[in-house]
Amino acid sequence: MIRIRLIAAMILSLSTLPHTSSAEPVADFREYEIKAVYLLNFASFVFWPDAMIDHSESFNICILGEDPFGSNLDITIENERISNLPVTLQRLLEVKPEFNCHIIFFSQSLDINLSALLSTLSSHPILTISDRDDFIQQGGMIELVNSEDNQVRFKVKASLIENSHLQISTDLLEIAELVE
């Protein structure tokens, strides 16, 4: 069911080696710092229908449920533009297609009928992302996965993304773990 494209290579990579040599010596990256930067990356590797961009004044990332990012996402999107729109962040307690979210991040804390909600959203050009480990199973598009080596990888359900009239860059598909 799951086709693994790159994971084997990653496992083989020098997993005991550090990956922070260029960073601040005392700094250790936090899980949600990496995930915040992933979100911004996804925004630039996925293309929204022109209508969804043209009728927006900003590119909206929405967090549904308790925000696990703290200030990470706010700092990450500062001065960033996607499709020439300034990026904004909204924290929501509920979500509807009309809210004009380009990306919705579903918090692990959500205690709702996820599959029903995702099914409602699926016909709209909204990229759904979460780090819940049942997210794709419930009908989500991108699932962030913590590896055994404390690295953050991601799974993509490409068919779902395409059905919602989003276009996904092949560069992103190259490095994703694809779920069919």
Partner: protein, 680 residues
């Protein structure tokens, strides 16, 4: 030596502290901003390779620290590497670590040390399993026969060669080994594994199931049973040292919210070991007897970690019960431990880590044989400890200083201090140099303090045995180490890492056996001795480790270790064999490991070992070649096939010269295995 060290260290610390002028307290937000900026500059492919900070999986430095930034001789072995080397037990896995000597005496006994001074009882290596110490105060050693887990559940083994005492406390003299199991979240679903072998393990059966109570609480339960064959003796006879183990356990991990994480885990085991021992008979001669050893135990550990606005604290507690009984002694031990630590990042440039702990150990020892006895059957010991470590960025991206010390109070020697100063220099992004000076102690064991050992030496001159009695000594003090280490790491690319360490260990107050008097009038004659601290010495060595990944599918690791030990008796000492210990390790050790992915589903792996002769144990050098073929037959089923020690029928790894070994050494044979691993 120590006397000259103290003022030296003190003045160095003062000098350095005086010259550190910290920048105005930069707050956490600025650090975060810098990290996020660094992450944003990475291509998305690189993002997936960044390891994030997880204090739980990085126990060794008590704080996350990428390998290259670690100013100590750290080596990390992942569970996957262990599986691909065809290894099925914890002591055998340490063969893959540079600088560690693993010598198997027979099927259920290993002599394991780092930086020399190995032995049947290897007293200077501290070992922790998921934060629980498995180093026993009975004889200052690790009972490897009682330590095990599913190989599939090993997350990593972190080894720091050299002293780790400033954080980990007494007995982390020659090294500290942290065995870390995976979190329950990483072992979801079912796993059944069956290994059938010839030569070493006859069969290993492992079962595990992982699930979740809710989305924030994961668990696993496991069971493992192993049946080991006996290793043959040099003469090719069955060594009579077969054994079997049964163990089961659980782990539950919860993260109720983003600030809190907790773990509850436990194991219970029951191992039946066979050995052949020499025991004294009524005529004071050694006779070979079959000795059945029953090892059982249980432990439960809880840990709670809370992230604070700055830093975090961790509180951990465990209870451990072990019982060992054979014809020599029957020991029951209860250990209770409580440990707390708190990390405070004050700014980008300074961070503090401190902690405190208490450990209570209670034993009850019966000695059915006259060869061993204790002045009291029961003993209760308290250990109180505290540590503090400061980490200072002297110059951003260039110089970093770690200063710290452990302070302990134990029931045998009272107060002990174990400081360490470590300096890391990053002259260039690809180069790291570090230097460290540290002190560590090996505190007296129960046997050192109040044990009596009786043995017999046949004397040809009188054609009769002489009774040889070794008394423990309440005046026995801690053995001390002062270590000087220098390290260099070179990381020119993601595919290559060179890691080199040279060290000098200065050891003092090592154990000797001093004769008190020989009474020839008795029948049989009687030699009375007492242990003392009359030996000192130096250990010099170099450890080299090279990782190279020439292809995406091919990874090579080479290790070389040179160790030279020089021991000297104090002028007043009349100890007979203490200096012999300087030859109890191989001078040269080399290994080359190749992990090769033939296709996406087929792995083909090799490990070559060269281990030099162990002069003190009259053991010749040997070559060993292990080969492993792994095949992912389908998504759920994996097949592993392997041959170990392919080059020779069998070889000895350690002798039985002095050091209290009264058992018959076996030889490590060629062995083959077939393993099926099924996920459901």
């Amino acid at each position: 030596m120590i006397a000259s060290f103290k003022p030296w260290l003190a003045s160095l610390c003062l000098l350095l502290l005086a010259h550190i002028t910290f920048a105005a307290d930069t707050d956490d937000a600025a650090a975060k901003r810098a990290r996020l900026q660094a992450l944003k500059q990475l291509p998305i492919q690189q993002l997936s390779k960044i390891e994030f900070y997880n204090p739980d999986a990085q126990l060794a430095s008590r704080k996350s620290r990428a390998l290259i930034e670690n100013p100590s001789a750290l080596f990390v072995l992942t569970g996957k590497e262990i599986q691909r080397a065809g290894i099925t037990s914890l002591p055998e896995a340490l063969r893959l670590v540079p600088g560690v000597q693993v010598a198997r005496l027979y099927s259920n006994r290993w002599a394991i040390s780092a930086r020399g001074l190995n032995g049947y009882i290897s007293s200077k290596l501290l070992v922790m399993v998921d934060g629980r110490t498995v180093y026993t105060p009975l004889r200052s050693e690790v009972f490897w026969d009682a330590q095990d887990m599913l190989v599939e559940d090993i997350d990593r083994i972190e080894v720091i060669r050299g002293p780790g005492a400033s954080l980990w406390g007494a007995n982390a003299v020659n090294g500290i080994i942290n065995i870390v199991s995976k979190k329950a979240r990483q072992t979801q679903g079912g796993l059944a594994t069956l290994l059938l072998g010839n030569g070493d393990e006859n069969a290993i059966l492992g079962l595990r199931y992982g699930g979740q109570f809710n989305s924030k609480t994961h668990y696993r339960v496991y069971g493992k049973a192993v049946d080991y064959d006996s290793l043959q003796t040099a003469q090719g006879e069955s060594g009579g040292n077969d054994w079997n183990t049964r163990r089961m356990g659980f782990r539950v991990d919860g993260a109720p919210d983003k600030h809190n994480e907790w773990t509850l885990q436990g194991d219970t085991y029951n191992n039946q070991l066979q050995q052949v021992r020499r025991l004294l008979n009524d005529e004071n001669r050694f006779v070979l007897v079959d000795n059945a050893l029953n090892v059982q135990g249980a432990n439960v550990l809880g840990r709670w970690q809370q992230a604070l606005k700055r830093g975090e604290w961790i509180v951990q507690s465990y209870y451990d019960w072990t019982q060992r009984s054979d014809r020599l002694f029957d020991e029951t031990r209860h250990t209770f431990d409580l440990d707390f630590q708190h990390r405070i990042p004050l700014s980008l440039r300074q961070e503090y880590l401190w902690g405190a702990g208490v450990r209570h150990s209670r034993d009850d020892i019966q000695t059915p044989s006259r060869m061993l006895s204790y002045s009291t059957d029961q003993r209760e010991d308290w250990l109180f400890s505290a540590f503090v470590q400061g980490e200072f960025v002297l110059s951003p991206k260039r110089w970093r200083l770690l200063l710290g010390s452990k302070f302990e109070h134990n029931s045998y020697t009272g107060f002990e201090y174990q400081p360490s100063v470590r300096l890391l220099w990053s002259p260039h992004e690809q180069h790291r140099l570090w230097a460290a000076v540290s002190r560590a102690v090996r505190t007296p064991s129960r046997t050192d303090h109040d044990g009596f050992i009786e043995t017999s030496v046949f004397n040809a001159a009188i054609n009769a045995p002489i009774i040889f009695r070794v008394n423990g000594s309440p005046d026995y003090v801690s053995e001390t180490l002062l270590a000087y280490e220098f390290g260099y790491r070179y990381l020119p690319s993601r595919q290559f890492l060179l890691d080199a360490t040279v060290f000098m260990h200065e050891l003092e107050n090592l154990r000797t056996v001093e004769p008190l008097g020989l009474d020839l009038t008795q029948r049989p004659p009687f030699l009375l001795t007492q242990i003392d601290n009359q030996l000192y010495g130096e250990v010099l060595g170099a450890e080299l480790s090279l990782h190279w990944q020439p292809l995406r599918s091919w990874r090579l690791t080479a290790n070389y270790t040179y160790t030279a030990v020089y021991l000297h008796l104090q002028p007043g000492s009349r100890s007979v064999f203490a200096e012999n210990e300087e030859g109890d390790h191989p001078k040269h050790q080399f290994s080359l490991r190749s992990q090769w992915d033939l296709t996406r589903t087929v792995q083909f792996d090799h490990v070559f070992y060269y281990v030099g002769k162990v002069e003190g144990q009259a053991t010749p050098d040997y070559l060993r070649w292990d080969v492993h073929l792994g095949w992912q037959v389908q998504r759920r089923l994996q097949l592993n096939l392997g041959l170990r020690n392919a080059l020779n029928q069998r070889h000895p790894e350690f002798g039985n010269v002095v050091d209290g070994n009264t058992e018959i050494p076996g030889e490590v044979p060629r062995s083959a295995y077939l393993q099926l691993r099924y996920n459901f």
